[in-house]
Amino acid sequence: MSQGPADTVKRVTGTGIPVRGDDIDTDQIIPARFLKVVTFDGLGQFAFFDQRFDEDDEPLEHPFNEERFQGASVLAVNANFGCGSSREHAPQALMRWGIDAIVGESFADIFAGNCLALGIPTVVADHDTVTDLQEFIDENPDADVEVDVENETVSFGDRTVDVEVDDAQHTALVEGVWDTTALLKSNADAVEETARSLPYTDV
């Protein structure tokens, strides 16, 4: 991994996958027992694990198990997706499964922040648009969905719909400054100054 500027993420194009339901929490996206690892490698196979497999590891009905959605990269979800724990393991698992962008009705703050840190756009559309997109994907699993972060649109079939991209996320992705470490590090002197100005530090 380089220390230089991150790649720009202006648009993501790929086939879609719908996961329906409000309030899908990070414990569902990746159950706690899979957090017992010291790297994120290999988490992809555990995305939505308990929704996908029963106690005997027999597959259950879940979009992530369906043959027609394998290889998908645009996830379409409903409201308050990613609520719960701050575990970055959740977006890491989705990313390593193959997800490059998420279109949803709303996202939990920490989850969206974690996605941004990985260069995954979380774009917001209204309920009807998301429902239409989910239905479109269901009927056209082989069709591309284009998430245009720069112009804040999502295109599927013959439709192009407006979506919302948070301002900071827009700038970070389009200009390739979503990996913030080097950026933050470049202000080390100003950080030191702020630290010194605080009564509780001994800097």
Partner: protein, 471 residues
Amino acid sequence: MSSGTLYDKVYDRHKVTTLPTGQDQLFVGLHLVHEVTSPQAFGMLEERDLDVAYPERTHATVDHIVPTGNRDRPYADDAAEEMLSELEENVREAGIEFSHPGTGNQGIVHVVGPEQGLTQPGMTVVCGDSHTATHGAFGALAFGIGTSQIRDVLATGTVAMEKAKVRQVRVEGELGDGVSAKDVILEVIRRLGTDGGTGYVYEYAGSAIDSLSMEGRMSICNMSIEGGARAGYVNPDEKTYDWLRETDAFRDDPERFAELKPYWESIRSDDDAEYDDVVTIDANELEPIVTWGTTPAQGVGVTQPIPEPEDCHSPETARQAQEHVGVSPGETMEGYPVDVAFLGSCTNARLRDLRRAAAVVRGREVAEGVRALVVPGSQRVQAAAEAEGLDEVFREAGFEWRDPGCSMCLAMNDDQLEGDEVCASSSNRNFVGRQGSTEGRTLLMNPKMVAAAAVTGEVTDVRTMREVTTA
């Protein structure tokens, strides 16, 4: 846009600069580290050949994976052993202070910070754990962050953030017997929804909050995230200062205390502060709340009817939740049988929580067939509880008295539900699978209610039990 609030003041004091993304770079006054979300961040630092910028402002402990029974090293669970070893190595190399089990200071990160006086008013506090909001009880600005942000904080002592809106949640009146801080926050989440706080921080205020203990305030701030608010806080007051005076940070250093107090007082929200939203809750109306569903917002007063899915924020989610838990609209939660009682977690495993639960348990026995466990929030809580004999009260009643850790709150160690067991839990989340079994069912409630459920074997209105007024 808010102005003059504690949030505005602390945010401004810690702001280093505005970044090209429009986000602000904030200095982090206290970075708490644990074993689940940090090893990957330390790994990234190594890849980029970066050092920890402010090790002296960083503190580590181990909580999620530690066993609460046999703690002999190496741990029986290889993965847990690997995670602890990794953390030990990381903090040793970086020179970070570590409250490990050998120190007698180990515990859940959100219990350890406040009890050692690491958490102070007017600080920014971050940790790779969503319940970092707990520290807001001290008038700190405390946020849960992800691992990439942990990397940022380790490398730079700062984090990129966007300014949030501030909602004041006023809780006015008096909490009745058997009603606690936990019921206040479950009511806040029930009323505003699991995503009602998205984009906000919550300032808890009003006479009921003022009269709460620091532990109660911590319970409330802790669950801010369950309402979607990334942070919650209470303005510091004499109660806050009384707590701090007795901590390691100031016990032997009254001069330092006197030096910092003016700062703490200066960051309180102004009387004429402006908020983006204000919500008022009548404390007098509250009764003990029990969750009937699979999100913390799906709660109901113990004597109140479970709602129709159609009357819920998300009817489909509510329908699925009622099916999972096996309850029907119109019923009450009273009498719902439980298999397990769990007193623990960063929400409710402090000394005062254990005292209150013990007052209900004293002289009674855990109901037949119920597995009941107490997992103190820290080694210090454990020691203090043992010093006043609470362990004996619990043991004599048939509870297991365990060593500190997150335990059955998220079941990353051996403490897990089996099959479709029902757990009365003092923890913060009732998500499907949260306690280690996908069929398991978690009923969130206050610690006294957990104690009552343990001894009766079913959800019980603790107000009907004799000891409640003395607890």
